[in-house]
Symmetry: C2
Subunit: 316 residues, 2 copies
Amino acid sequence: MADLDGNDDILSRVLAGETRAIARLMSRVEGRPADVAPIMAEIHKNAGRAHVIGLTGVPGSGKSTLVHAMAKAIRARGKTVGIVAVDPSSPYSGGAILGDRVRMSDLSTDEGVFIRSLATRGALGGLARAALDTVDVLDAAGFDVVLIETVGVGQDEVDIAEAAQTVLVVSAPGLGDGIQAIKAGVLEIADVHVVSKCDKEESSRTVADLKAMLHLGSTVRNRYGWEVPVLRTSAETNLGIDELVDTLEKHRTHLTESGEGAIRKRRILETRILKTAEDLLRQRIGEGDALTSAVESTLDGKTSPRQAAEELLKTV
Amino acid sequence: MADLDGNDDILSRVLAGETRAIARLMSRVEGRPADVAPIMAEIHKNAGRAHVIGLTGVPGSGKSTLVHAMAKAIRARGKTVGIVAVDPSSPYSGGAILGDRVRMSDLSTDEGVFIRSLATRGALGGLARAALDTVDVLDAAGFDVVLIETVGVGQDEVDIAEAAQTVLVVSAPGLGDGIQAIKAGVLEIADVHVVSKCDKEESSRTVADLKAMLHLGSTVRNRYGWEVPVLRTSAETNLGIDELVDTLEKHRTHLTESGEGAIRKRRILETRILKTAEDLLRQRIGEGDALTSAVESTLDGKTSPRQAAEELLKTV
């Protein structure tokens, strides 16, 4: 697979865990996935060893600070950590907000930690596909744990968090008494609930609310013999962080022993293929002028939006 | 177009603004759009008169309460209002959270107001397509103003809010000093900024922050000669609600006079056709067993996820 771009070289360097090669491949797969399709096929074959953890919660729930504390605790156990942060940034400016990332700076000199931020890429999408490809790169590069952090609101964002072996939902005290978590539609996707900022007094209320809700609903809980825990943490005082990392390891073992792991592997792959197909569709539509013609003929009253969409599907 | 389902009848009844027919068509277009495609084509031809307003903001920003106050103010001017609320509910339970809607109850007896909640429909999507079709139904049924309310986080949700003639972004005091709005990636899509809960003291800070940010960034502001205002409101004390409704009317006039309205009409149609094409793709993939085969051959190592997605696109 050697070619003019030195793709052969980049693949072996990524598999060897070389930081610069990883970053380069990520940029390429984010922006021009078609160009690196053969490399990504090899990457996929070499992935599957990492423990992929999805972490989600509403804005202000303290996700990034928690990810930071978790990464430190995982590193202290001698394991390496890849972090994929999906930033809902402006669809116009295309830039990610740096605030949260800055706090990660004391991890940035650690070779055993790799942090990648992905920005929302506007109406033409592709975020989910890019995020899942990025996870594959980190997995194949040999990172023991890969954390995907997304905002827990929005269909695509929840889909990304769910495309993980272990799903962690973060709630913060005082953000509307736990209602935030329900509103975000992510309460039931959690394998592990974390209440952040538990150095604050109101946190007991949030923990109690979450536990009550878990007893009310039972769609997911126990479906595979796993009792969803509600853990109290504080990234500030390091409260509960080690227990959280223990729980994540226990969950991984449980996935293997219960057979749920194999079910999830299929589900994750399904999401991945579906998101890639959508991404391909959008790219192909974006390349030609079929969409412009479709808009024109709808404006003229010649077709309905649905007919125009059907025609568009035929052309790609 | 008369058929066994009495479709001919439902179309004329919707166009006449009959509540029950409107609700029935909405349910049908939400769940089984293919069945009502010819009716929706006619609906589309009859739409285009309403002022469609997208309203968005993070959870807890007071969107629903504001929508309620706005609807009352618009009704007081003798105009009718359709409301489409996109609820990010659990992808598992499929149910919408009723909390916010309950507050609307004193509007529910008013024939000049129609409220429709749409729930997130899980990984197979279709939310954006369904929301935009619902707007078309309300428009064709003769509602003067149609408000689409979405959570301002998530690509699909932001896309929906943006598929409107006037985009309103709501920020609340105390939700992290305005950072919430940036995080949500919607600051720059606003034609009108609203700070809610301005009976609270901290609101001055939020207003100042927003104004400062508008002066920093200028991607959208003034692009079509419109100075994006930051309005103070309180649904509690009715502060600023009438001014807000005035501003929305002014914006609509400005759209017409500046030519921006025609540009947006194209953009909205583009989003609509694209979302419908994606929805069609997902439906077709969901109907057959092509996705299952794609997952199997990827698990076997015969194809990469991307190759599997390409194969999948060919089969639909």
